[in-house]
Amino acid sequence: MWLFRLRWSLRDARKRWIQIVAIGFTLAIGIGLYAGLSSVTQWRLASIDKSLEATSMYDLRATVGEGGDVPAGSLARIASEIDGIDRYNERLLFDTQVETVVEGEELLVHGRIVGMDLSGGEPVVNDVYLIDDAARPVSHSATPQVLVNRGFSTFWDLPASGELTVGGDVGVDYVGSAVSPEFFLIIEGNGSLGRSNLAVLFAPLDAAQDISGRSGVVNDLVLTLEPGADAAAVSQQLIEAAASTDGVLLDVLTREATPSYIGLTGSPEIDQGIYNAISLLLFAGAAFAALNFSARMVEAQRREIGNSMAIGEHPRTIVVRPLLIGLQIGIIGMILGVAVGYAIAFQTVSVVQEVVWLPIFEQSFQAGIYAQAMALGFAVPVLAVLWPVLRAVRVRPVDAIRSSHLASRGGSLGPIISRIPLPGRSLERMPFRNLMRAPRRTFLTLLTFTMSLAIMFAMLGLGSTFTATLDDGNEELLGGEPDRFTVQLDSFYPVNSPQVQDVLTHPTVQLGEPAMVLGADVTAAASDDTADPIRLDLAVRFVDFGSTVWTPTATEGSLSPRSPGIVLADKAARDLGVGVGDDVTVTHPALVDGAFTYSTRTVGVAAIHPHPLRLNAYMDLSQASTWGFGGLANIVTGVPADGSSLNDVKRALFGSGTGVTLVQGLSETFQSLEDSLEQSSSVFVITRIFVIFLVMLIAFNTANINVDERSRDHATMFAYGIPVRRVIANLSVEGLLLGVVAVVLGGLFGYALLLWMALFLMPTAVPDVGMIVSVRWWEMAASFVVALAAIALAPMFPGRKLKKMFIPGQLRVME
């Protein structure tokens, strides 16, 4: 008997295999997205650790403070005398500018030379990993040889080897690309330096010394600790020993406190949060669609279930046949799910590896994750089948064997709606009638479409939101000058000092303004009594609020020159829970009698500015004196003079040797974020493709099931001479009616979803950025039109089935 049922079920399956596969595929998208993306996270987490180990990232890094250096060998000597240190290497690091020509365009970016042991002999701490077996730079070469950081060379598509100019006039040869653990991910300069605009060059120590003109010195020590060694004790000893022997102050940084390490190790989990949300959404949509369709497939068998009941078959065994269909869907969903998962995983990996390349990237099969996803994907169709079957065996058999549409009417709304008079001829009214005939079914289908369209809307919206956020941010900072730049000085200088004046009066610079930027710790004043108030590290810029060149825009409140208020970013204000007129407590460095201390004061919030970076806060330049920095500047802003380019300014000022550490276009404020957003948005691109696919599948399934459910209706219509295309047209109209409502609802829910993703989900990943929600309506309209077209065209596919229908056969079966 079991064999009998299995055979019967396989016969069912052969008739409906397209539907079964299509529903299975719908589920597979949900399963695959979750399993694929989660696998990537596991791969990344495992690979990051392995990669850091393979390149021996430092446990501690000690840097000589204030730009100083010490003779080579002295840091090594200190290290050799301290217990708990395993291996150590001396290095010379310094910033410079790097120039090259990319496809005929000159590229001038901030650079960092890392002078270290590249001989390839003894393994070194914080080693480089050579890409594609690149040659090792040769020491003491006539033209210095270096390796370029892979992030930079791939971003700009540099040839495998070539020439670069550093520091304005030193030509170097790069012999290949490499990565090193500190620079797997690049986040520097408050996020303004990313892999695209920070060129890290690894050079043999002697070459680095030559380029910098500081022969025989080093300024940096990286070391690994012996197991169980106390990092704090070791750093303390390092600092003390350096102070006593070389008289220098060491800054010691642990691996865990290194920003790039934090970003690198934290990002997989942060991304996973986003992956989870997205795949949950898509899985919900896919599961719901699968649920709906499986349920409808069973619904179509209601009369048969009634028959079985009439001849006394036990409900337990009645369930078997539909359940087998559920199992088939589940199995197909699982198989395709793994395929989809792998496709998504590999696609994602290629993007992840593009942005943050790890020397070791393991892609082991994540059995646990797939098992989880597949169990879920399996349960959905099985439950989807059980539910309507159990409902069907509950009804009285006499109702079940009555003609099917009477039985599936359900609810009290149906009979009422179906009595509403409609205009037009009966054939034209048919699509409406069909929708109203079974309101519950219509509602479920509508919901399915709405859900997938909402997800599509949100995915598209997120893309435009990213763009808008970056664009709006730039617009706010640039004030109509695309080349507005900022010059960072290495210290605080009086405004009338040569360091500041040289920049202000430089022939390549116009509209220059000195300013101050200080890091400050800000909390809401009212939250003093709470145990753990939200504390933000902000960069407070003192700018002239009366300036005619540039001031921040006040979206709330106003800027008044000489007033003591602070201007916060909208995101910062929201996070702190303050508005214009509220007070914040600011803990900031203060200069008292020429010495730095910290002081705390209460400042009123004067205005809110729209820049998406939470970090940026502003105060009027006059207030710098109350913090003890009156008349001083550590940055200068300006725009290139007529006839000069931003590159001219960079070249001229950086090389001037007057305390300039960084010249940067303000449009690069978001650079590292922009570089890494590429990664998140690639996930959205993949998802978008699958969502569109999902919409099409749903449209296809709906049409297919409609045709199956109504084969007798259609046979009767054909028998009355109604042409096939008319029937298909009716199905299209029916789809479109639903589609239009789904577009409206999908738009509304999608917008809500977008707001949630942009304002609640994304901030968990990038808390520093206040997303500016923006929707490109033409893009939205276009994709909705595509979705509607898919819905309207979907009946064409089962249309073939209609054309081939054996009409007498259909009419004949009285079931």
Binding site: M1, F4, W8, R11, D12, K15, R303, E304, G306, N307, S308, M309, A310, I311, G312, E313, H314, P315, T317, R396, P397, V398, I401, P415, F806, G809, Q810, R812, V813, M814, E815
Partner: protein, 233 residues
């Protein structure tokens, strides 16, 4: 075998109350071949549905095979349908995905009679020996009807309910089917055949005539039981 006492059935269609059965009493013993006559809408199918435990009466008492249907549990009703009654539907209710043989096989299997006879033989007895592997949509209305009959016969259940079993058949085939059903009564089954063909009723042991949900007469056919060969329609 079958006992109906004061059975009524009402349907509420919106504000309208349709009385399908207005209180009927009916007793049928094993070995009886009873024909139920009546105009369309008189309540014949409803009566059969209630006897077959497909439907429940609005009031009254129904006993089939010694079991009180009005107080039986769901699973008892299922068991009754499996083991006591067999239905031949007015609209055949075959499984479209199963062949003629498989439909019969399935009926036997559900009633626990598989192996007791060959489905092919039963189909042969209704004149379908040459259409065994055909699906319902490949059969004529009358042929489908006969598969449905074969399915019911195959169960061997003591109560046989047939709703217009000859509606789709020509005289010759119809007569054969009726003969078959009459034979079932001889094998100690209670056979209830619904028809609105007065001629058929002449071959019954008993004719129950219904009108507007009531039994208006119950007794041997006018002119006594007539052999099949003397009927004409």
């Amino acid at each position: 075998m079958i006992d109906l006492e004061g059975v009524t059935k009402h349907y509420e269609v919106g504000p309208v109350l349709v009385t399908a059965l207005a209180g009927i009493d009916l007793h049928v013993d094993t070995g009886e071949f009873v024909v139920v006559l009546g105009a369309s809408g008189s309540g014949k199918t409803t009566t059969l549905n209630i006897i077959g435990a497909l439907d429940v009466p609005s009031s009254g008492k129904v006993t089939v095979g010694g079991r009180d249907l009005t107080t039986s549990s769901r699973s008892e009703l299922f068991a009754l349908r499996r083991e006591t009654v067999s239905f031949i539907f007015q609209s055949f209710n075959l499984f479209p995905g199963l062949t003629a043989t498989e439909n019969v096989e399935f009926g036997m299997d559900v009633s626990g009679k598989s192996g007791s006879a060959e489905p092919a033989d039963i189909l042969d007895s209704v004149g379908l020996g040459h259409r065994l592997g055909h699906f319902p949509h490949e059969l004529s209305g009358g042929e489908q009807q006969r598969v449905a009959i074969a399915r019911a016969l195959a169960t061997g259940n003591p109560v046989l309910l047939a709703d217009e079993p000859t509606g789709e058949l020509d005289f010759k085939t119809g007569a054969q089917i009726l003969e078959l059903l009459a034979e079932q009564a001889n094998q100690d089954r209670a056979v209830l055949v619904v028809t609105h063909n007065r001629e058929i009723s002449r071959m019954a042991d008993r004719v129950v005539e219904m009108s507007s949900g009531q039994i208006i007469s119950d007794g041997p056919p006018e002119g006594g039981k007539t052999p099949l060969s003397e009927l004409r329609w």
